[in-house]
Symmetry: C2
Subunit: 312 residues, 2 copies
């Protein structure tokens, strides 16, 4: 049994109660804790040495990334993160200075977004460092945006630029908290999530919640400078468009809204966030799965990429 299959089995029969508005399957869990006009958002996220960072990663950036990933999930629901607990699982031999620097990076970002760190715990972990962050926050009941809700004809939008995150963006990205709350307040978003596993994979989560498909326009995909640079490193390099479609850890917002709102949105965005791109990359259509349209026509897009037309 694979991990994904196991998760599906485990999440089928989890205990519920009256406070649980939405459990597994969205960026954060949603709870009704009796806060007037608000839901409580609840999320955990772990980073592991050798998977999400290495022994070479500057420790301040490890701490920053661990917190920023969680913040990005709150952004994905147009929420406001409030407080975090930190679980540090440490190998028997750990360098206290490294841990202090991890905290320094985390604390700095927490201060910036006004999130308190309410404590946590350290425990031992023979194999290496693991940081798990639990976070609570709030979201207006009227402006909470889910992954489900995409409608036929919707425009599909992404913030920022995609691909090549491994060059540094995955350690330095700014969670789109302010942008997401502004979007949810000013426009009727139908669904939203943050891009963590790559556009081609994550857009599928939005489609799975409907019975619709999506068409992306290859020329509209905002490709990062890093993805372009990496594509020029040799004949074995990943093409830049493929990187933008499939690389993970972009931590940009992916959302849809009615086609009629597309132009007013793009105009208002340019005024409000002049230094951050917002791009309409395609639309929700009838059918299943994702197709990619370019000058040569239309072809299916899989989680791992597209099929080249001119293959021998």
């Amino acid at each position: 049994m694979k991990e994904l299959e196991l998760i599906q089995r485990l999440t089928q029969s989890l205990p519920s109660n009256a406070a649980l508005i939405q459990g597994a399957g969205d960026d954060c869990a949603i709870l009704d804790m009796g806060i007037p006009g608000q839901w409580l958002l609840f999320k955990t996220d772990a980073v592991v040495e050798g998977v999400h960072f290495t022994t070479e990663t500057p420790p301040e950036k490890i701490g920053r990334k661990a917190l920023a990933r969680c913040l990005s999930d709150f952004a994905a629901m147009a929420g406001t993160p409030v407080s975090a607990l930190i679980t540090l699982a440490l190998p028997a031999e750990f360098d206290p200075e490294r841990i202090e620097k991890i905290y320094a990076g985390m604390n700095q970002l927490a201060e910036q977004v006004k999130v308190s760190i309410a404590g946590g715990e350290t425990t031992s972990n023979p194999s290496g460092l693991l940081i798990s962050i639990a976070m609570v926050g709030t979201v207006s009941r009227d402006h909470c945006i889910h992954r489900s809700g995409a409608k036929l004809g919707d425009g599909i939008f992404v913030t920022g630029e995609l691909g090549g995150s491994i060059a540094g963006h995955h350690l330095d990205f700014e969670p789109r908290l302010e942008e997401a709350r502004w979007l949810a307040r000013e426009f009727k978003l139908h669904c939203m999530m943050d891009l963590s596993d790559g556009l081609a994979t994550d857009l599928r989560h939005i489609l799975n919640a409907t019975r619709l498909g999506a068409e992306l326009r290859a020329q509209s995909i905002p490709i990062s400078r890093e993805a372009k640079l990496a594509s020029r490193t040799g004949t074995m390099a990943k093409p830049a468009l493929l990187a933008a479609l499939t690389d993970g850890e972009d931590f940009e917002l992916l959302f849809t809204l009615g086609a009629k709102e597309a132009v007013p949105l793009l105009d208002a965005w340019k005024e409000k966030f002049p230094h951050t791109r917002l791009t309409c990359i395609g639309r929700i259509q009838e059918g299943e799965g994702i197709t990619l349209r370019d000058l040569n026509g239309v072809r299916p897009l899989t989680a791992h990429g597209y099929i080249h037309f001119n293959q021998p």
Copy 2:
């Protein structure tokens, strides 16, 4: 630098905000999320293979314990747990059936105490299984009991019986949720915590928050049957009283209240919870540290035990 010293350094300068009522240092963090009349309680707790359970532990009991430890922290503040997120860090080669059984044990206890499991995540962990649980709940602002607040002359009370938990109690214990809420509602408790590291260690946390000491009466300590049995296994066995004072993972409630309320409390308890012991084991006094009184006199009690009078 040792782990404890590192934690002290890390927790000195954590980011705060207006919502943070109490951070590190109590059984749960306390947040003001705008719930009328209530605080939000927030807690994480991790169990690790080789530390809190072994590869031989029945998997249902691993899951049950992981959740029960967290519940016990909510009991310690007279709170009501509401929802949990589960982080499973799995080695590359894991047995999916074991994981399903861990969840079965966890789910059963969650159903029993009406806590929802709102999701979580799995991540990889080369060295073995690690389960981290994040939990939120509520507590009445009027009846939230902290670790601090013990007063001179207070009686010191424990629920249940102490010591020898390793024989099975650490896997089977019932978190004292109902008892704690009843205590906080019906009596003016001055402080409370749950016993996880052993009475001699944990009582020190209560004393550190005041400038007072404590005297325990050796004959009053409620020693578990398991601690007594283990003490008879040979001349190298831990004396039963020492086990009750120093063994970890009792997960009983430790609290103090004014001496005048002691008898009414014990009477009311016997009526309400006839099958669970409640014992007054000593009192809060002037001075520092913990002393133990028995038929031979009074002697200091360290975290590791007491000094024998009749040592050569």
